[in-house]
């Protein structure tokens, strides 16, 4: 999903424009311009695979989460580090001003009580101020960074912020094993052979640290979600956008869903909903997606779903469940001034059919301001 967005965002500013000579359907070893393509049965090794994969064109580390300060003050945050390669393996030159890779980063913070949503984008070339270590998780863009603080018992250190208006310094400790989404290690995104990714997720991390908003600094705790996706793929021309959710339920399970929207309004068959049980095992289930309410962005005019009823099957009971995804604030849109693509990425609460709150999550909506052509 996000790779599609990433692709689009980077493409607009950077314009890749490479064709794929690979046959449809079958497995291909590489793209036409020699970027690697995810292979089934890949053996992941850590911390190596937490690090950067410059053989692949596109990669990101995507952290979203919910934070609570003393007195119950609630926040949602997003910290995303993107990487795009200009040529396979490029950028390992160590140059201060490299020309092989670029790094885009998005940071956002929602103050739930006030509904104030602030965000910032940053674009840097591979070099002295932005890099990603190929050996371990250590990615940096300006004064923002995400790294593996303790390789033995995994703990991640995230430093982010929005200009000088907000800053967070968080320690993220996985509460569940790492999830590899997809079949045999490959998460498919479309019919094209190369349209796939390695999709690694810490679906539940305990977050603790400090959050500064304005001139106030406060200790915070909460839960976060981190995706790490690696791909080189080009997506189908008939897809105009996508919806993604990562839901953390209070019973210890999570749901990850991506929904590829076609120009004719139908959903691409590659769309998928996956449950992660308390032990970290995954299971795909069919689902329906019903938009209950909409919100129009005054900034871009995009008409986003602002409340969604999700119906699926609970793999534990095999019973149908209906969940409502409800944004904690209407306006959590990032205008995409650097990337050129506006999208909505926001903190939500999850309500059961009886209206009771049963968890929280993040919802991502793209292609609503205008169709994504790529």
């Amino acid at each position: 999903m996000r790779q599609r967005r990433m692709r689009r965002i980077l493409s607009l500013i950077l314009a890749g424009g490479c064709g794929f000579a690979a046959p449809l359907g079958g497995q291909v070893p590489a793209t036409a311009d020699d970027f690697a393509v995810p292979q089934p049965g890949h053996h992941f090794a850590f911390p190596r695979d937490h690090g950067s994969h410059p053989d692949f064109r596109i990669e990101w580390w995507y952290v979203t989460g919910h934070l609570f300060a003393e007195g119950g003050r609630r926040f949602g945050f997003q910290a995303t580090f993107f990487r795009e390669g200009g040529a396979p393996g490029a950028g390992a030159t160590g140059a201060a001003f490299g020309d092989g890779q670029v790094y885009l980063a998005h940071m956002a913070l929602l103050d739930v009580a006030s509904g104030r949503f602030i965000y910032q984008e940053r674009l840097n070339r591979e070099g002295w101020d932005a890099r990603a270590d190929p050996a371990t998780l250590d990615v940096r863009n300006g004064n923002w960074s995400l790294r593996l603080a303790n390789p033995a018992g995994p703990r991640l250190a995230l430093i982010g912020g929005v200009r000088a208006e907000a800053a967070f310094n968080l320690s993220l400790v996985p509460l569940k094993p790492l999830v590899v989404f997809g079949e045999n290690g490959v998460s498919r995104k479309g019919a094209a052979a190369s349209a796939a990714s390695y999709y690694l997720t810490f679906s539940r991390l305990r977050a603790a640290g400090e959050l500064s908003v304005g001139d106030r600094t406060m200790p915070v705790t909460g839960e976060a979600w981190m995706d790490h996706e690696i791909s080189s793929s080009q997506l189908g021309a008939d897809q105009v956008g996508w919806d993604w959710v990562g839901l953390q339920l209070r019973d210890g399970r999570e749901i990850m869903l991506y929904r590829l929207r076609r120009a004719d309004g139908t959903m691409d068959p590659a769309s998928a909903l996956t449950w992660v049980d308390a032990a970290g095992r995954t299971r795909r289930e069919p689902f329906t997606w019903e938009v209950v309410d909409r919100w129009q962005s005054p900034a871009t005019g995009a008409d986003y779903p602002s409340r969604v009823r999700l119906t699926t099957t609970d793999p534990a009971t095999q019973a149908a469940v209906s969940l409502t995804i409800e944004p904690l604030a209407k306006n959590q849109e990032l205008s995409g001034s650097l990337g050129g693509i506006p999208y909505w990425e926001g903190a939500c609460r999850i309500r059961a059919a009886d209206g009771g709150e049963i968890g929280s999550g993040y919802l991502e909506l793209t292609g609503y301001a205008r169709p994504l052509k790529l």
Partner: protein
């Protein structure tokens, strides 16, 4: 009361203005001219300084701090170090590489300096998109409109990002340059000694509120400019911008503390704010700009005199009317207030006209000022001067204040007109300001000026001094001379009486000159001021030129001089690479070669130059013009001169160093303490420079580039022939023969002084107009006498001749006094004002031809103008109402 003045203004003043429309217009024009010169200089000065900061501002927005090494460049490794030290602090870092370049000389152009210097700025074109200004603008270098496609970005998809960064250097240019090259897809530039052809990627994007990119700005991706200039892995400076948010002021202070700490107290780099850097630029040029301002104020001073003359003339013309008003019962106070109100309104009109004219003049002056600043100090890009509300108000204020000051005495005269004046027109002519009649006052002023001339300069800031007492001395002498010159009139009268004893017109003129009125004396003083200053300036320029000519003669001994063709001004940073200069020095026919290296450094926060050459060769082949020669030979011996340096005179003045003093200079290898072994004259560089043995300098800076090379040819070798060969082999070099370089230096010299000539002409023209006005007032006052003369059989020509003689006598007194004054002023300008401002010792030279031409011209035009006034006066009816 007020109603009365209003009534007077309407019925009396306005009516006069309607009737004497042309005179009123002239008055406003004169006032406007004076204000205009002052306003124009102010705008031009400011614009020349303001352009200093605009280079990176337009790309990254204003930064909070700038770090820059005191000498040399910074390694790229400071960037990760700085980021690590800053931790999570929300600070943007913008590393910058900067150099200058010029477009190649076309074959048809003569060998000369002065082509436009472009500033090449290398910034990280990806990262600048993060700068606040660029984000707001919604544009970036990655989406900048390509020149080839004027619709810009209309093509599907975006410009190819990766190609932009990998296909070799590309440039982004200003709209003005884009228009100039007319759609060409590439631009040729001389960078160091190479001519490079750089594809034009687009026009520099600008934010709505961001300052417009200067016309001479050329932007490249930072690593490309590093490659192009041989500064691989090096940075010229790093700019820092604290991201917006609460507590930004505190963060800025913290950031500064971190930068200061890491900078090792100036050893690695100095930390400055852009404002401080602008101030440095301002103080560097302060003396120069103050001098210009003073010159412009002098124009206003002469203008003041004109206004006085004109208003005084109006009083005389309208005396009859005033007398009627007085006899109708208007009080002295009412008349005076009405008169002052008239002066005020005239001042307002003149001020407004002056602001307009001044703004227009500034557009012309700004290029001249910019040219000089460029030649002497640093690259400026200025070609427009903006006008602020404050400038407008200042202009109006100047106009009104000048007009009121000049109108005060005529208003008093007007008010004192007795009601019976209409009946006794032949009453005594106004005596004029009493002060002008005091010979002792003139002597005291001259003496006071002498005392002021002995005072040291005012130290405005580090390295900047301003000869305040020197200017005061000049002013005192001008006033003192003005008073004393008035006493020449009776002397001239005595001479004239003896020579033209049988000429009736002469006797008439002599009778007036024998007991000169205040008006006569004032006319002499004003003309004297103009002549004295013009001649004084001419003496300064002539002395300067003679000195420079001698200096050029002595110090330019080589046969060929070679520099990068990109080096077009003092601020040029273009160098010749070791491979090229070595090849050049090994050409057949070369007997010896002097290689000069130059590195800009900062001392006490002021930019100056550290230069190096083979000092033994300097001694063997040419002679430095010494101010203080070295006491022994150690400076010429490379084994003994590592701790020695020669200081240029400007350097010595600026930093107060004399022979025997020590000076600590920053180098990339650390501080070096040098003892000044001698001081030499150098008129080419006002920033001052230290000269050391080149081999030491190369070691300290780890940089073997040359700024220029001088070649001494073996006997029989042909300089022109070698020049042609060198130009063919190295098209990026400029090669001057000895004679061509001498000519070129003198051309630049004259160009630098061109602005002073314009001011001189204005001064003389204004003074001659003033003379005409004076005489017309005088004649109006003598209407009865003229009537009598005509009755006695004087014809128009005779009256005109009498007036001409009167005017010529005034002019002659002024010229005699003015030339005498100019000797004093010339001495003052050369030995006090110039020496204190710029630190240049000049020999005294008198431009005899120029001075006598000036004197003759003033007397002749004075006589001619007076003759015309006399003809006009002869026709005055005895009882005409003006």
């Amino acid at each position: 009361m007020l109603a009365l003045e209003t009534l007077l203004l309407r019925r009396f003043t306005l009516r006069h203005w309607r009737l004497a429309f042309r005179q009123s217009l002239l008055l406003v024009a004169i006032l406007g001219l004076g204000v205009a010169v002052a306003v124009a200089m102010r705008l031009a000065n400011r614009a020349a300084v303001a352009s200093f900061t605009h280079f990176t501002d337009t790309l990254t927005g204003p930064s909070d701090w700038i770090i820059q090494p005191a000498a040399g460049t910074l390694p790229e490794s400071v960037l990760p170090e700085l980021r690590a030290a800053l931790g999570a602090a929300p600070v943007q870092l913008f590393p910058v590489v900067e150099t200058t370049a010029a477009r190649p000389r076309r074959a048809a152009d003569p060998a000369s300096f002065g082509r436009t210097t472009y500033t090449l700025v290398g910034v990280d074109l990806v990262a600048v998109a993060n700068a606040a200004g660029q984000q707001e603008a919604g544009g970036s270098f990655l989406t900048a409109a390509p020149l080839a496609d004027p619709r810009g970005g209309a093509t599907e998809g975006a410009p190819d990002f990766w190609r932009t960064f990998r296909a070799g250097p590309r440039v982004w240019i200003s709209r003005a340059l884009a228009a100039e090259i007319g759609g060409a897809r590439a631009i040729e530039l001389v960078v160091n000694e190479h001519i490079v052809r750089l594809p034009v990627a687009g026009v520099i994007p600008g934010g709505r509120d961001a300052p417009q990119a200067p016309d001479t700005l050329i932007v490249l991706d930072l690593p490309q400019l590093q490659q192009l200039t041989g500064k691989v892995g090096r940075l010229d400076r790093v700019e820092f911008a604290v991201e917006p948010g609460p507590g930004a002021a505190g963060r800025r202070a913290e950031l500064r503390a971190v930068l200061e700490r890491l900078g090792g107290g100036g050893a690695r780099w100095t930390v400055a704010s852009p404002a401080a850097r602008r101030e440095t630029a301002e103080t560097m040029t302060q003396a120069f700009r103050l001098n210009l301002t003073i010159l412009s104020l002098i124009a206003l001073l002469v203008g003041l005199y004109l206004i006085f003359e004109a208003l005084d003339g109006a009083v005389v013309r309208r005396r009859g009317e005033i007398a009627i008003l007085r006899s109708l019962g208007f009080t002295e106070g009412t008349v005076r207030r009405a008169w002052m109100a008239e002066a005020g309104v005239l001042g307002l009109l003149g001020g407004a006209l002056g602001v307009l004219l001044g703004w227009a003049g500034a557009q012309l002056a700004v290029r001249a000022v910019g040219h000089t600043v460029n030649a002497l100090y640093y690259a400026t890009t200025v070609d427009r001067a903006g006008l602020s509300v404050a400038d407008g108000c200042l202009g109006l204020l100047l106009g009104v204040v000048a007009s009121l000051a000049a109108g005060w005495w005529p208003a008093r005269e007007a008010a004192r007109t007795p009601p019976a004046q209409v009946l006794v027109r032949h009453g005594a002519a106004a005596a004029g300001p009493v002060l002008l009649r005091q010979a002792w006052l003139g002597a005291v002023l001259l003496a006071a000026g002498w005392v002021c001339a002995q005072l040291p300069p005012l130290r405005v800031g580090a390295g900047v001094r301003f000869p305040l007492a020197g200017y005061l001395a000049a002013l005192l002498w001008i006033f003192g001379g003005g008073i004393l010159a008035g006493f020449l009139l009776p002397a001239i009268a005595r001479v004239a009486r003896r020579w033209w004893a049988d000429s009736a017109p002469a006797r008439v003129a002599v009778s007036h000159l024998g007991a000169p009125s205040g008006r006569h004396r004032l006319a002499v003083a004003a003309l004297l001021c103009a002549v004295g200053m013009t001649a004084g300036m001419a003496i300064l320029v002539a002395s300067f030129e003679a000195t420079v000519r001698g200096w050029v003669q002595r110090s330019l001994q080589a046969d060929l001089y070679i520099s990068s063709s990109g080096a077009q001004s003092a601020s040029s940073q273009n160098r010749i690479s070791p491979a090229t200069w070595r090849a050049v020095t090994k050409q057949p026919g070369v007997a010896a070669a002097g290689v000069l290296s130059a590195f800009p450094i900062e001392l006490e926060g002021i930019p100056t130059l550290l230069t190096g050459t083979d000092l033994r060769l300097v001694r063997a082949r040419s002679s430095l013009p010494w101010v203080q020669p070295p006491r022994d030979d150690a400076i010429y011996d490379a084994t003994r001169n590592a701790g020695l340096a020669l200081a240029s005179e400007s350097f010595g003045e600026r930093f107060r160093k004399r022979r025997g003093d020590t000076v600590a200079v920053p180098t990339p290898a650390g501080w070096r303490t040098l003892t000044v072994a001698g001081v030499y004259a150098d008129y080419g560089n006002e920033r001052g420079s230290l000269l050391v043995e080149r081999s030491h300098l190369v070691e300290w800076f780890g940089d073997d580039d040359a700024a220029n090379v001088s070649l001494f040819l073996a006997p029989g070798a042909d300089a022109e022939d070698l020049r042609a060969r060198l130009l063919a082999a190295y098209p990026g070099l400029t090669v001057f023969t000895n004679a061509a370089l001498r000519t070129e230096i003198l051309r630049i010299f004259r160009q630098t002084f061109s602005i002073t000539y314009a001011l001189e002409v204005i001064g003389v023209v204004v003074a001659v107009i003033g003379l005409a006005l004076t005489l017309s007032s005088v004649l109006l006052d003598r209407r009865d006498e003229l009537t009598v003369l005509r009755t006695l059989g004087f014809d128009r020509a005779q009256i005109a001749r009498a007036t001409a003689l009167e005017g010529m006598s005034i002019a002659a007194s002024a010229v005699a006094g003015g030339l005498a004054l100019s000797l004093g002023l010339g001495w003052l300008l050369i030995h006090v004002i110039n020496k204190q401002s710029f630190g240049w010792t000049l020999g005294f030279a008198l431009p005899w031809g120029q001075l006598s031409a000036l004197g003759g011209m003033v007397v002749a035009t004075g006589g001619g103008v007076s003759y015309l006034v006399g003809r006009w006066g002869a026709d005055l009816p005895a009882d005409r109402e003006e």
